[in-house]
């Protein structure tokens, strides 16, 4: 199993497409840092207009922590595309390249192949999220320094002391990793049913976009459906930037996402085990 995993990791990180995400995150991060540094204050004032009619916020609002948080919340919603780009290719890519038959005829169980591919996709997701953390928070603090973090929710503003945000960012990365691993598992599952990469990547993104739109639009019908969509639970990392943190909500969402991962992987194992590799 370990050998299989190493082979899958080697294959994953050898593909040029795996580095598209790394480069994209660095570029987008740099652009957002620049924009926040130059015009972040005006943008924030616009969002805080209602509050600033009778109150003033005194101090250094624009800082590395805010820049890090803005990049996280902007990019984490778009990271599924980068994850799907790699995970959606893991089985369908083998099929289109004609190596699937060779792979499946090895003296290992197909379930082990699927698990190795899943863990390789999860490792790639962790690398991507870790890199996002380095670019967003590390880059932000390097460029703009430390400071208290102002978090804008839909109904509430949270002011978090600078000394109190480090652990929140670290845990947020872990939770974002769990959320994106769910997307990786979905892409891998869809990849089992296709013979080229484009289909599973597009299908994964379509599901993520559809679910996100349902979660974002505040229609009563959508609000009833929203808690049952995994994309809603993918944004649980934001709960860490509330005060007090609702730990039970986090546990519930992690369990919900983990259940999805298990279901997607089990379906993948069953589908891949039954897959006809001769035609």
């Amino acid at each position: 199993m370990a050998d299989l995993l190493w082979i899958e990791l080697y294959k994953t990180f050898r593909k040029p497409r795996s580095y598209i995400g790394i480069v994209a995150i660095a570029l987008i991060g740099a652009v957002i840092h620049l924009a926040i540094g130059l015009e972040g204050e005006q943008y924030l004032n616009l969002l805080l207009e209602q509050i600033q009619q009778s109150l003033q916020i005194h101090g250094k609002i624009i800082n590395g922590n805010l820049a890090g948080w803005v990049i996280l919340q902007s990019l984490i919603l778009h990271l599924p595309l980068l994850v799907a780009l790699v995970a959606g290719d893991l089985i369908s890519g083998e099929a289109s390249a004609g190596t699937l038959r060779l792979l499946a005829s090895k003296p290992v169980r197909r379930a082990q192949i699927v698990l190795a591919k899943f863990f390789a996709a999860a490792a790639y997701t962790i690398v991507l999220v870790g890199w996002l953390g380095v670019v967003a928070v590390g880059g932000g603090q390097l460029a703009m320094g430390q400071g208290d973090l102002i978090v804008l929710g839909s109904d509430q503003i949270f002011l978090l002391p600078a000394a109190d945000v480090g652990w929140r960012f670290l845990l947020a990365m872990v939770l974002a990793g769990v959320g994106l691993t769910t997307v990786a598992a979905l892409a891998l599952m869809l990849s089992t049913f296709a013979n080229n990469s484009l289909g599973p990547i597009m299908a994964t993104m379509s599901v993520v976009i559809l679910f996100t739109i349902i979660g974002t639009m505040e229609f009563p019908l959508f609000q009833q459906i929203s808690p049952w969509l995994f994309t809603t639970h993918m944004s649980i990392w934001r709960e860490l930037f509330h005060d007090p943190v609702d730990a039970w909500q986090i546990v519930q969402s992690v369990l919900f996402l983990s259940l999805h991962i298990i279901i997607f992987v089990v379906v993948t194992v069953i589908a891949f085990s039954r897959r006809d590799i001769l035609t």
Binding site: Q52, S54, Q73, D148, S154, F158, P161, M217, S235, Q249
Partner: protein, 231 residues
């Protein structure tokens, strides 16, 4: 003879009333002026302050800061943390009360605040071009403004409650509580990308928020070096 006695009697009554007015009574304008003059003795001060906010849409922890003040209206608040403060300047009332000819003071009555008998005075600016539209002041016999309500042109109604301690001689409070009108904070989910937003703590369009400033370690009239003003 009877008329003469009546005149004598009336003179005595008028004399007594006038003496009483001079000794204990003050006109509303004098009361206001006395409050201002008490603070006007402060050329500068610095003080430590703990700022606690209780605003429906904002969750924040108490923050420590240092306040510097220099006449006539230079104020700096030094803190590494983000602070929520009322939009009105800390000593905004000084400008309104500095010129005793710029307002009319009307006695409203007397009330009891913290077991103290206080005079309630309404202050109406003579000109209607300034920020202040109307002020209600609750002033104790020593000239300390224990409570005030300021109706302003752009920032709505601001209520201020003061508690005085060891710096009362200079009219500097130990505790100031600002109560301000705060609009409900609401942003679309599509902007905040907050798919799991909790329902806000308030559903009304506006609410009241309080900001409490607790002062300590006043250093008064000792001068403030120019470099101290830099953050």
């Amino acid at each position: 003879m009877i008329v003469m006695n009546w005149i004598r009697c009336l003179s005595v009554i008028v004399f007594v009333v006038l003496c009483q007015a001079v000794v204990v009574g003050q006109t509303p304008r004098q009361l206001v002026q006395r409050s201002y003059e008490r603070f006007a003795r402060v050329k500068d001060y610095r003080a430590d302050v703990v700022i606690t906010t209780d605003i429906p849409s904002i969750a924040s922890k108490p923050v420590r800061a240092q306040i510097l003040y220099q006449q006539p209206a230079r104020v700096a608040i030094k803190s590494a943390a983000l602070l929520i403060l009322p939009k009105v300047p800390l000593h905004f009332w000084l400008e309104a009360l500095a010129d005793s000819n710029s307002f009319v003071a009307i006695p409203v009555g007397q009330e009891t605040i913290d077991n103290k008998r206080v005079h309630q005075v309404s202050v109406i600016p003579v000109r209607d071009t300034g920020e202040l539209l109307l002020a209600k002041l609750w002033i104790d016999p020593e000239g300390l403004i224990l409570k005030s309500q300021w109706t302003t042109r752009t920032q709505g109604v601001v209520d201020v409650s003061n508690t005085f301690g060891y710096a009362a001689t200079f009219g500097l409070p130990d505790r100031m509580e600002f109560t301000v009108d705060v609009q409900r904070f609401k942003l679309p989910k599509a902007v905040t990308l907050d798919l799991r937003s909790r329902p806000g703590p308030t559903t009304s369009a506006t609410g009241k928020g309080t900001i409490v400033l607790e002062f300590s370690n006043y250093v008064i009239n000792r001068g403030i070096a120019p470099h101290d003003w830099q953050q």
